[in-house]
Structures are given as C-alpha cells and as structure tokens.
Symmetry: C2
Subunit: 598 residues, 2 copies
C-alpha cells in the first residue's frame, strides 16, 4: 500500500459559506439585570422613525433549522441557529444548515445570537456557522451546557457562550432583550422579549402550557401578560401543533406509564426517548429508584446529555443508582432499567444495534420490555416501525404509540394553549413559526376566529424580509436562501448538482463507457468497454451490453473522417445509449463516456 500520509492537500473541505473566520470581536455588550425592564425611559422607544427588519433564514414553512435575523439600523440580533434533517431528496446528506449569505456584508452589525432552548433544530447549526459569525451566544444554563458539548466535539472555543439567568436582561445595540420561562420537552426553554425602537416583539419558539411539569418550569404566563398590557407589536409563535384541538397533556403523565411497565416486566426494562428530554429521563430515574432496579445508559447522545444535565443540576439521581454499561451483565434482568438512544429507529443507534445482536453490553431477550417514549417524525416512521418489528421477532414485549396513547406527550402547544397565549400577549401582528406552511395557514384561520384580520397574520417563507414598523408590518422583499448541506466533513461542498447525480444513480444506476481510440486514425483501437453499476446484473444482460457496444462502434464507424471532436463524440455516445437503454429497459442510467487515446 502506498503511504497515503505523504500527500498533504490543504485541509479539505473549504467552507464556502462566507466570512473570514476569527475576525476581531466588535460587538458591544452590556449585561444588566431584571430591573431595567420597567425603566422605560432607558429605551429609545419613540426616538426613531426607522423600521425593523425581520428575516427568517429558516423556520417558517419549515419545521427545522430555525434562524431569525432581527435588524434595526446598525444592529443585528440573531435568534436561534438550528439544523435540519435531510429528506429522501438529499441522499447521503447528514445535516442541513441555514444559508447565511444574507449576512455576508453585514457581519459587523451582528451583536449576538440568542438561543431559545437546547434542541438541535435551534442550536445544531452553531458548530458550523458560529466560526463564521464569531459573536457571543446567550442562553440559559442548560442550553449553554448543550452548546458547549457541541463546541467541545468540534474543537471550538467556548468562551463566547454566555449563560444567563431567566431574569437577566441584555442590551445588544438597539435591542433590549429579556426572557421568560416556557414549558417544553427540554428544561430551560424560554420565550424571548425584544424591546426595540419600533415596539415590543415576543419570540416564542417551541413551548406548551403545562401546569404540572416534572421540573417545575411552568410557562410564565404572568410575565408575558405584563408585556401584553404594555402592548406587543409582533409575536412570533410556535405553530407546529395548531391542528390539534384542545390541550396537550402534561409531561407528568408519563411516569405512571413507566412504573406500570416496570411492574409488568420480568426481564430488563429498556426505555428509549429523545435523549435531550431531560425531564422524561428524570421520570425513568424515579421509576428505577422506586422499584429497586439499577439504571444504565446506552448510546452516545444519551450518555452525553445525561451527564451534562446531571452536572448542571437538572437531574436528581441518587448515588449508586447509575451503573456502567460494563456492569449490566452482573445484575439480574429484573434489576435493570436501561435508557437507550435510538427512539426513531436510527440504524446506527444503540437500540438498533442491540436489536441486531450487535451491542457489546445489552443483549435483548424474550422477557425484556422495550418502551418507545417518542412519536416518530414523519420521515422516521418507516425506520421506527422496522425497529419495532425487529424487536418483536426477538420476543421482546414492545410498547409503542400505535398501541396506546400514554407513552408520549408532545412538547408543543395545541390550539387552546395557543389561544391562551394570544389572549395574554394580545400582539398586534402574529408570525406563526416552526411549522410547515400548512400549519401556518391553520394558525391564521384559528387567529381569525379570535377576531384578528387576515393581514395581521404574517405568512412568509424562508428568506422573506418582514418590515416591522409602528402599527404596520408587511413582507417587503426576499433574499435567496438555499439549503446548505453537511456531508461527512464537508459543509456546502455538496450542492444540487451532486444531489441530482446521486438521485439519478440511486434510481437508475450508472453505465460507464470506455472507448480507446487510435491516435492516428481516430478509430476504435479495440472494442469499447461498458461497465454498469446499479443498473442491471451484467451477467444476466450480456446481450443488452453487447448491443450497446455495437452502438458505440457504429458511432465511430459512421462518423466523417478528420479530427475527432471528443466532446461531440461523448455527447453522441451519451444520447444514443440513453435512448437505447430507455427503449429496452424503461430506465435512464447515468451514462459516463470516456475516450482514451492509445
């Protein structure tokens, strides 16, 4: 084998997103405390005739990669910086991050990134985009803990990650920013209040109303109501679950289900859930503790998040309860609860590996129970179903949502909760966020049912620029945003052409034609080679391949004499073989002709 280490290309890939990294820090920040809020004089409320511009780079008409740019004069504040997950039109892509080209010529204006909560669709873009933006990141303690975990993995400095208390206020240029607590499926979720020269804006990302949350963090409707009384100009608000009538159930209802499964199970109890759902993990911890079972963790995301949350005081785990994975085999099955990553059936997850006899420490047996405490997102439904089937064939008793409704509750507000929030905030304008376009439309209809006029509800798409002025707000222009794909180590080096090729090859295969030609005569020096991959079994279709070779030969034979136009000949081969293969097979493989001079 050659020594490949001797080749040293410059670090691949190049980031083609923009900005020079590590520019000097120019943002002015002053942290003040809660009291500033009621001191209205300190805010330049009516001193400016300007307009505030809000540009969502991701998160409207799009459940994921939330990122919102608030811009006033020379000041920009960014709210959230999430990732999206690839769909079936993006084969091989690991993640999708927001396109920040819009910020390219505005980098000196950015005063900070404020994060609502610690879910990946709100923080996952930071490791990829922060090196370009290089501004302070503000959020609550646990959220900062999760961000620091990501920055550690990506070898990024963590000194710009600033943990705030819920009552802190920060001044970022023209923006005075404060927070209120929101209940959601991860602790330390917040609503954000931006006091701006044009008025008060509330940014309420993912939340629910839960009067009995496991961690005591209820949505602070009182604080929101106080601002509602002052007058809120615009409220951006989570619309994902607007289609559901009534109220979302309390998180607290889950613990009873876990306890019941524990009592009914003679073997191990395996519980899988989104591994950032710390309060649900707490409930599993409680059941382990009350039942006398030991607790073990399996899966990198589960172990990481458990440790971050426990270190920061968000998990209450009695000492001695948690055992190492290596200890699992030293305890009888009926003395074990194992929390495993892989609730959506991800093929590389700890649970999927255990289901395929491929986990070093967790062997599943007939009397074990596996609890799926998470509803799959639509794109994960097939994978989750497949994993449930696989676990069933092992003889495990599997508990999942299609069987019973008490295994999972949503972290998002249903329609009555949304109405309550609008009733408290009484915003003049509403921007439904964090949902697909259909959810935004249903939200608009619901709000109109409350007396709002249609033009008070904004339904932009990603990249629309919303001008927010006193008593008037409208979509006014559009900036191009495209998906930026992360694939392996590459960020932005996979684009639509690469994806189109991947999709064509995946559906139709590839046919490679190598024609060796004589330098003198420009005629074939030998029969062309035709090799296919992903198209047909070559052995079973020799006749087809032979006929294709015949076509290539005839193209050379029939051509006029003179110098060979390589480009033209490649095109001819491609076109003729395309036509031939489609006629014979109704397939369109990607045809790659090569001409080699001998």
């Amino acid at each position: 084998m050659a020594n490949i280490r001797s080749f040293k290309p410059k670090k691949f890939p190049k980031l083609n997103i923009g900005f020079t990294p590590n520019r000097p820090q120019t943002t002015e920040i002053s942290m003040v405390n809660d009291k500033l809020f009621v001191n209205k004089q300190s805010l330049p409320f009516s001193s400016s005739k300007g307009v505030l511009r809000l540009t969502p780079l991701g998160g409207v008409g799009d459940v994921q990669k939330n990122m919102y740019v608030y811009e006033y004069g020379n000041d920009i504040v960014i709210v959230d910086c999430g990732v999206g997950f690839p769909d079936d039109a993006m084969p091989g892509v690991d993640l999708v991050i927001p396109d920040i080209s819009y910020l390219r010529d505005k980098k000196d204006k950015i005063r900070g990134i404020v994060i609502t909560h610690g879910h990946d669709d709100h923080i996952g873009g930071l490791p990829y985009l922060w090196p370009e933006l290089n501004v302070p990141i503000y959020s609550q303690k646990l959220t900062c803990g999760f961000i620091k975990g990501k920055f550690t993995e990506h070898n990024l400095p963590k000194d710009q990650i600033k943990a705030l208390n819920i009552n802190d206020t920060i001044k970022l240029g023209a923006f005075n920013i404060s927070f209120y607590q929101a209940a959601h499926s991860i602790p330390d979720s917040t609503g954000i209040i931006l006091q701006t020269p044009v008025g008060i804006i509330v940014h309420q990302a993912d939340f629910k109303i839960d009067w009995t949350p496991v961690n005591g963090q209820v949505t602070d409707v009182g604080k929101l109501a106080r601002f509602g009384e002052q007058g809120i100009l615009l409220m951006a608000i989570d619309c994902l679950r607007v289609e559901k009538q009534g109220y979302t159930l309390s998180e607290k209802s889950i613990e009873g289900t876990f306890a019941q499964v524990e009592r009914d199970t003679q073997g191990k109890v395996i519980i899988t859930m989104t591994s950032s759902n710390i309060t649900r993990i707490q409930q599993a911890v409680n059941v382990a503790s009350n039942s006398g079972r030991k607790l073990a963790l399996a899966g990198r995301s589960m172990e990481n998040n458990f440790q971050i949350a426990r270190d920061l005081g968000y998990l209450d785990v009695q000492s001695g309860l948690l055992i190492a994975q290596e200890e699992i085999k030293r305890f009888p099955d009926n003395k074990l609860i194992i929390l495993m990553a892989g609730a959506f059936g991800q093929p590389e997850s700890a649970l999927a590996r255990a289901a395929n006899y491929d986990h070093k420490f967790v062997q599943l047996k007939k009397k074990d129970a596996v609890v799926f405490s998470a509803d799959p997102i639509p794109s994960a439904e097939v994978d989750q179903g497949r994993l449930i089937d696989r676990l069933t064939t092992l003889g495990c008793k599997v508990y999942y949502s299609a069987m019973t409704s008490d295994l999972h509750v949503s972290g998002h507000a249903a329609s009555e909760e949304l109405k309550l929030m609008l009733g408290l905030a009484k915003p003049q304008y509403i921007l439904p966020i964090g949902g697909n376009y259909r959810h935004m439309r249903v939200f608009s209809e619901m709000a109109q049912g409350l007396g709002y006029k249609e033009d008070q509800i904004l339904l932009p798409v990603d990249g629309d620029m919303i001008d927010v002025g006193k008593n008037q707000t409208k979509i006014n222009g559009h900036v191009n945003v495209s998906n930026v794909y992360v694939d392996g180590l590459g960020v932005g080096d996979v684009g639509s052409i690469v994806l189109r090729d991947r999709q064509q090859m995946s559906e139709e295969g590839v046919v490679i034609v190598i024609a060796s030609i004589d330098q003198q005569t420009s005629q074939l020096a030998s029969d062309p080679d035709i090799i296919s991959r992903g198209f047909v079994f070559e052995k079973e279709s020799e006749e087809l391949i032979e006929a294709a070779k015949g076509i290539v030969k005839s193209l050379f034979r029939d051509r006029k004499d003179g110098k060979l136009d390589w480009r033209y000949m490649r095109h001819e081969i491609e076109e003729n073989l395309n036509k031939f293969f489609y006629q014979e097979t109704k397939r369109n493989p990607l045809i790659l002709p090569f001409i080699v001079e001998v």
Copy 2:
C-alpha cells in the same frame, strides 16, 4: 445519430423467475353451486391421513404482496397474488412481487388462483406471475374486472379470469372452495372457505365489520358462524389494525363530511382518495348530485377504476353528471367536484401536477378546497405532507387527517371486530396475516386474552411451511423467499447487489479512475484521469482530486517490476483511494478503477 433500431437484441429482460410460459392447461375444474357445501359426504374429510401444507410466499410479517400456497397431495391452490411497494432501501424499484421459486417444480399441481379482493397488494402480482403459472383465476365480478384491466394493459389473454357469484362453490382438486361476503374499502371483498381433507380452513384477508356499508355489502357473519359450528381447523385473518381498540367507523360517515365541505366551498371541490375505493367514490358522486355540481375525474387510475366499476354496475351515476376533463373550464368553479388521483402525494399524480401548475385541465385557485380522504401509509407520509404544503401555498383550503378525524375511515377491523370474528369462527388454530410482525404479536396477545393458548396462534415469516393436520398444526421447515424487484420493463434483473451499489452511490457518490498504461513498461502512459459524480463538486475540490491522482501514480511507481497484475492493481487503487477519501471527507464513494493498455 446512429440508427439504434438496427440493433435487435433478444427481448430484454429475460424473466428469471422460472417455468416455461404457456404450458398446456392441465388443471381440472368443476364448478358446482352453493348446495354442495352442506353435503359433507362428498368431501373426503376423514379419508386421508395426509397433511396439508400452507406456505405464505408473502403477507406474513409483511403488509403487502400477499400470496399463500395451500397444498395437499397433488393439489395446490393459491390464494391472492399481490405486489409490494418499494421502501427506501430499494431505490429505483417500481414494485416488489412474490418469489415463486418454491412453485418451480410443482407447476403441474396448481389447480387455480383464488383472489379475495381487488386491491393491488392482492392482485397486482398477477400480470407478472400469471404468465408463468397459467392457471385459472377465480374471484368476484368487480375483482375480475380490475384484473382484466391489468391484463389488458399487459397484453395478456383474459379468458382464464373466471367471475363467480358469492354463493358459488368450486372444486379445485382436493379443495372445495366457497366464499362469503366481507365489508372492506373495495366492493366484492370476500372471505374464502377451503374445505380440505384435514378440515375447514377460513382465509379472511382484509375486512372490517360495517353494519351500514355504502354498497350494502355487510360482512356475512351468519355464513361464517355456520362453518364455525361445523368446526374450523385454521383461520388466517387480517391483523393489520389489531393495535386499535374498539371498532372501526362505518364508511357511511364520510358522505356527511364531503357534503359539509361542499357547502363551505365557494370554489371547486377537489377530492382525492385511493382510486379503488369505489364506495367512497359513490359518496362523492352522491354529494355532486345533491349539490347540483358536475363531476369530473382526473388521473389515469381514477378514470380507469371509475369506468370499470360503473360498467359492471358498482357505481350509480345519473347521466349528465359526469363531464369530460376538457369541459372543466366551461363550468364555474362552484359547479364542480373533481375526483383526482394522488392521495398519497405521488409526485407524478394528477393532483401533484395540478399543485405545480402542470395539469392541462385543472387549475387550482384560492377559493378551491382539496380534501384528502385517505391516511397515508407510513412511507408516503412525507410526500403527502409536502403536497398539502404545496396546495396550501396556492391558497387552497386543504382538509386532511391531522386536522380532523372524519375524512377517512379504515377498511380494516379493529380489535373488537377481530374478537367478534374469532368468536363466530372459533378456529382451532389462528394465523394472523397481512400485518407486520408486531401486529401478529399483538394479535397473539389479544387471542390469548380470549383463552387461546400461545401455540394455537401461528407466527410464521414469509417462506415458513405450516403443516396443518387434524388437531395439530405447526411450522415445519422453511423455503427461501427473496424479493423480486420490478424496475421499468425488467422483472427480477435487479437484485441485492445492484441495489447495494445504488444505495452506496446515492449516499456517497462514485469516483471513476482511468489509468492508461504503456504496454511495454506497464507504467502509466500519462496522468490518470479521476472523475467523480455525486461525491463532491469537482471544481471545488481540485486539490483533493489531484492528491488522489498522486496516490494512483505512486502505486504504479512503487510496484515491483514484471508483468502487471491488473486485478491486483485495481484492488490496490480501490483500497488506497477508499482510505484516502474517507480520511479526508468521511465519505465512502464507490471507486471504479479502469486500466487501459496503450
């Protein structure tokens, strides 16, 4: 362009499924009427000590491609012959059909194919497999109509498709076969009763209990109960919806929803549903008729099925109600109901084309309503959601299941209905069919709750051979069944290697290396060419490609003198580049090295 028509390879593809087609018809059939049934003496019930073998080739642990082989002595009867739909591990595959290798050496024994109902997962395999099997096909009138439609499309003879009445009995070798009516989401669905030498077997594929079906076809529980009293040895029964508690709603509840939407809509009313759901189409017809709107159809499957059902008397449409697509623009929007194919968001469907301004006759506008009267199967959820979003951006009012529960009812029995069927049939053994393995397990637990012992419920996988004897039944052996893929015109020419290549190329791309070597020295005659597709933008990764060329050059430079071992060198190139690309990009493109002698 070369004249590609001058190449005449033998008809591609070769079918690699087995059998010589068009063998002489040897099956003995006698059709008798209802009365035979109660004449027990005519059946050789206790005359044989033999064993009946039931081999599911598809449909157990597998929702689709239902196909069951019932075999006794020298007689085989096949029940159903369906297709499956590809999942994301089968890129480019159009359909999956059952693997009938097991039947290869038994073709003379096959007495007929009996079809339960006309859904594609029960009849869709016929056009591909019947030419090999070439035996009579028996079913009810509408089912035969749908099969004839398929045979016409595939240029197959239709004389072996035999339409029966519900009370007909047929004798196929050792099997006396009769039917009873079952309610389902397509008319003329049946349960099948096989009177065999070892006892009575009931084959109850997809059904529900619906006391008020739109077409009057209730499940004939009385007939089933009569056989139950005689003693049923084995019952194969639909388990797909066993997870749902209680009862499935009646189909009749849908018409009210359609009528309400019609009243609320000022523009066109578009309704989309599975196009074989004839009774639901009837309800839309009724609403059109009662509201004074005209009815139009769009989409090939919708038009075909509507016509077949109407011609056979399964749809009651007053004359003058149905207008041609070309007439749509001559009527005001509020005088139109259009039934469109595409309920699962299929990208090529009529509805998806209309949503993208690409339908010749249907233009969608702001005041139009679009009703999705079908819940997506899991693999279609993403596509359906995308289409709903797209329609919403056009301003249409879209009605779909997540918003309200009265747009669709299932065609499958929920758990209380299944218990009722078991209570009537009282089978000694039970085989849950038509579901995934998890559904079979839940069914087993439900049956055990009714007093069955675990070993009375059979949980085989496709290909397991079930020996059914008097008072004992067990899984006894296994025959290999693999998926047979239909891709374009090819049946069975795409296998797991082709699919693996497709998947790798789709996720990681392909890198082609062409090394021209000097015949004399076995050294490179020039720099190697490296071309990638679906891997990275080549322009943006010149350094990477240059470094890869360097690796190939060094492999030739470093090798010992002597004759070049082409196979070894290709392997070396592949291995070294794999390692290099993974190290630099964390991707594993498919590497295809070619060595050309100059």
